[in-house]
Symmetry: C2
Subunit: 146 residues, 2 copies
DNA sequence: GGAAAATACTTGTTGATACAAGTATTTTTT
DNA sequence: AAAAAATACTTGTATCAACAAGTATTTTCC
């Protein structure tokens, strides 16, 4: 009589899934409470552009580890909200360059502060050394699965 | 001249997001390679039913920390694939009880083995003590954000 | 120079999430 | 017993994900 030894609640996958989902929804809530209605995915794209404005969709896809189709539609939505512009490249008309709007540049620091705040909220009551270990292990998990 | 000190790649949220996404897609691939085409979310539901067959949709929603609308549609999809049955409760006609089909019961151990394998793949080259710490920190993050 | 391959992006489909609103049924209240 | 509240579930809408297929443009190769 062998007992089933798999328990969803105790599994690495489930814990990662829930922690990730909660972080995203908390970030979204923090944005919303400050009148920025931004999804986590949109934030990822903006954040890349804060690092370097005027990237191609392909670069954004690679850096955010997503497929181009997803980026394409994410950018459609960011454009609808006037958060970025899509500018065809002169010398290679296959390529679009994505630029932040002035409106978005103006709120960069506010958005980053909200992202940092979210991480602080998630990290409460956690020993900094153990948090360090966790970040390292998350990197290793990523390496293992890539 | 204060430099921007937020970096997406180094953030807890991003690392959690990527690790979680990779685990889910690896699980999905492992299922697919063995001719089970199951999403992670569907697996979550089945896994709850393996623990206890015949739960209400509400119970499944609470246990998987999802809203009822999501569970409702997940179950629609599981029914399409003949993986579960939806049975209205006699004495309270608001309630549906969800049961595994025989087909699904027959593959429980195989599915659980694939889930365990996925976790093992993700945990390669990780010190068990550090993995323990990570699991505990993930729980704490969840507590912090709930 | 022209065919073939590669590159960048878009569109379609299916499944999932979050939120809001709706229906049906049961329980509580008066 | 009827009205109001609560409960369980479904449906609608918008956004995102993963995969496949399609279009346009540029590069490579003969």
């Amino acid at each position: 009589m062998k007992r089933n030894d798999y328990h969803l609640d105790d599994s690495l996958g489930y814990k990662l899934f829930q922690a990730s989902r909660l972080m995203n929804s908390r970030l979204n809530r923090n944005f919303k409470d400050n009148d920025f209605n931004l999804s986590y995915e949109q934030w990822q794209v903006l954040s890349r552009l804060f690092d370097e404005d005027g990237q191609t969709q392909n670069q954004l896809a690679i850096r955010n580890e997503r497929d181009q189709a997803g980026i394409s539609r994410l950018i459609d939505n960011l454009i609808k909200r006037n958060l970025v512009r899509r500018v065809p490249q002169k010398d290679d008309r296959r390529v679009n360059l994505i630029y932040l709007t002035e409106e978005t540049k103006a709120v960069q620091h506010e958005l980053e502060a909200l992202a940092t705040m979210t991480i602080n909220q998630a990290s409460m009551n956690i020993d900094p050394k153990e948090l360090e270990i966790t970040l390292r292990i998350l990197d290793q998990i990523r390496k293992n699965l890539e």
